[in-house]
């Protein structure tokens, strides 16, 4: 296999039969190229899917009050449920071992002014834990902290785009902004992977928000983060317990569907992951299909190549080529072509994916990629099948009596 003469003879034959060489090489390169591209797109689709659903923390349970639809324990139906600060402390005290942190959220839309610039933004009264629930990333300064909550400070952490709008890219840190007529000092700037909307938020201590609203103690919703060690089953159990606990406390019938809403991100995540799994399956399926098409392509080419060379093989045999050397020659050529072309297709595919990058984001394809292992395995598969596809007709050709092969015009 590794003798120099044989390589020379092979290169010579390939060079002298450019059309044939190009054709079979092209088939293989194309097969791998399309495979890499499709597989990469599939992965890109999965990426964007995950980005949609996973920009928030996945270990949270969200509680939101509603309006009862059933009378219960002497209370009439259509009663509006209201969460208060004591709900926070009660949950914390009753489930201390399950909870990582707990935070309320009070959402308001306020006109925010700074000098001549003004705009409407969502202002959220939160506790420090909210930063983890939303996966908020601080780029400058700090987030709202416990001291802020305790002292009801007029400090605000603003989104990147809020800063851009109001401060036209200058640092906002330490400057005052007017939120709904009240002056707040900017103590931090954040970004959020969840998209532009998330970066047009302003966070302030929830206690401050309550003080501004006639010193009430109401909260819109409660976000409870459980310890990740609980796992999926533990999260479901906790969700159920929390639900029962809150219904009991607020006198909501256990089967009242609208008195309280509980959303478990962990359960959503499970569904998301299942869907992603289906996507992965489709991607794999498409990939295998492409690969199969490639294999069939090479097989056709190889049958054609051997057929075309029947006479030449007959001549070679008449002047002393053994069947083994005939089969070896064809295999050597086919493996060589598929290897080189496969590698080229691989590089082209990976290169194209890199080039595309995030430019197809509007088609929900983010960062398309293919793992090296998958790509190499696909190439090797194609080479292997190219060899098998070459071997079968080559062996048949080698078995033909030279006299029959020579008669072939």
């Amino acid at each position: 296999m590794w003798n120099r003469d044989r390589w020379q003879e092979m290169f010579y034959t390939l060079r002298k039969n450019k059309l044939r060489t190009t054709l079979s090489g092209f088939t293989v390169a194309m097969g791998i190229f399309i495979f890499v591209l499709l597989f990469g797109f599939g992965n890109g689709l999965k990426n964007s899917f995950e980005e949609f659903f996973l920009d928030d923390s996945t270990n949270t349970i969200w509680l939101r009050p509603g309006q009862t639809e059933k009378p219960y324990r002497g209370f009439k139906a259509k009663r509006r449920i209201i969460f208060k600060n004591d709900d926070l402390t009660d949950i914390q005290q009753n489930f201390p071992f399950f909870i990582q942190y707990i935070t309320p959220r009070i959402s308001r839309s306020d006109l925010v002014k700074r000098g001549k610039e003004s705009n409407n933004y969502t202002v959220r009264g939160v506790a420090p834990g909210h930063q983890y629930a939303e996966k908020t990333i601080i780029t400058n300064g700090r987030y709202i902290n416990e001291a802020d909550v305790k002292n009801k400070t007029k400090f605000a952490t603003i989104g990147r785009l809020v800063e851009k709008d109001l401060f036209s890219n200058k640092s906002s840190l330490g400057h005052q902004i007017d939120v709904g007529g009240v002056s707040f000092k900017v103590v931090g700037v954040f970004k959020d992977e969840g998209g532009d909307n998330e970066e047009r938020h302003i966070y302030i201590p929830y206690t401050t928000q309550q003080r501004l609203e006639k010193s009430n103690d109401r909260v819109d919703r409660i976000i409870v983060a459980f310890r990740p060690e609980l796992g999926h089953a533990g999260a479901l159990a906790l969700e159920k317990k929390l639900n029962t606990f809150m219904r009991k406390k607020h006198n909501i019938a256990p089967n009242d569907r609208s008195g309280i809403y509980v959303r478990n991100v962990a359960a959503d995540l499970k569904e998301t992951q299942q869907f992603a799994g289906v996507l992965q399956l489709i991607v794999t399926f498409v990939g295998l299909g492409t690969l199969l098409a490639g294999i069939i392509g090479i097989s056709n080419i190889m049958v054609f190549v051997v057929k075309e060379r029947t006479k030449e093989l007959g001549i070679r045999k008449a002047i002393g080529a053994t069947p083994k050397s005939v089969v070896g020659m064809i295999l050597h050529e086919s493996v060589f072509i598929t290897t080189i072309a496969g590698y080229a297709g691989l590089l082209a595919g990976v290169g194209t994916l890199a080039l595309i990058g995030d430019s197809l984001e509007e088609f929900f394809i983010i960062n398309p990629y293919i793992s090296t292992g998958t790509a190499v395995a696909a190439t090797i598969t194609l080479i292997l099948f190219g060899a098998i596809a070459g071997y079968i007709p080559a062996r048949r050709a080698a078995k033909i009596k030279p006299i029959v092969a020579l008669r072939d015009e």
Binding site: Y12, K16, N17, E312, I315, I319, G320, T322, P323
Partner: protein, 234 residues
């Protein structure tokens, strides 16, 4: 050099079998130049193919240079062909994408001769058939006679004991044919045994012995006085 006894060969043609060779007994000594003649269908090409191990007989014995040729698998046949025999075909059978020199080099490649030596020996034989300056030409740039001379050089380059030629002049005009026969006679003069299948009387008369085949049997086997082709060639 060649001894064959009771050689039989038949081909299946659909339902019927065509009995082509019906018990051929035939000896060729070293250095002979034998013409095998007969009308088409007489079995002359089949005989040559069996002698050349391109085809196998149904029964009978064949001894080539003291080697009994039987139960050959393709690999062994290939080695024998490469070692003992050279072929010249009516349709030349050169590999079109190789130059004249490379075509001649090919048998040596299968003998695993080093490239440089292959080149030198091939060049030598090309010169012997008068095609030294044409070494770098491809077959499609050569005339019929030149192609056949390349084929002869290719058959000779492995220095075979026996050269088998199947209608070597069949595709050539008579002038070119005589030139080719001159080449073949010169080869024979060097001691190489030659078997030539032909149906042309004048070509046959340029050999030293004529064997007539009719319907699968030898009907005549005579020595003739060789006509030298050089007398026709300027």
């Amino acid at each position: 050099m060649i001894e064959i006894k009771k050689l039989h060969k038949s081909y299946a043609m659909g339902q019927n079998t065509l009995h082509v060779l019906k018990g051929i007994n035939f000896d060729v000594a070293e250095g002979e130049m034998v013409a095998i003649m007969g009308s088409s269908g007489s079995g002359k090409s089949t005989l040559l193919n069996i002698l050349g191990m391109l085809d196998v007989a149904d029964s009978g014995s064949y001894i080539l240079d003291k080697n009994p040729i039987k139960n050959l698998d393709e690999t062994k046949a290939a080695i024998y062909r490469n070692k003992f025999l050279g072929f010249v075909f009516q349709s030349f059978n050169l590999i079109s994408y190789k130059t004249a020199l490379e075509n001649v080099m090919l048998p040596l490649y299968y003998q695993k001769v080093a490239r440089k030596e292959r080149q030198e020996r091939a060049q030598k034989f090309l010169e012997q058939v008068g095609l030294g300056p044409w070494a770098a030409h491809h077959p499609n740039e050569l005339s019929g006679g030149q192609k056949q001379r390349v084929a002869i050089a290719r058959a000779l380059v492995s220095e075979p004991k026996v050269l088998l030629a199947d209608e070597p002049t069949g595709a050539l005009d008579s002038k070119t044919s005589y030139e080719l026969m001159d080449v073949l006679q010169n080869i024979n003069d060097k001691g190489i045994t030659l078997l030539i299948v032909t149906h042309e009387e004048d070509i046959a008369n340029m050999c030293k012995r004529i064997v007539h085949l009719r319907d699968g049997v030898i009907v005549e086997d005579k020595k003739v006085k060789q006509v030298r082709a050089s007398s026709y060639v300027e």
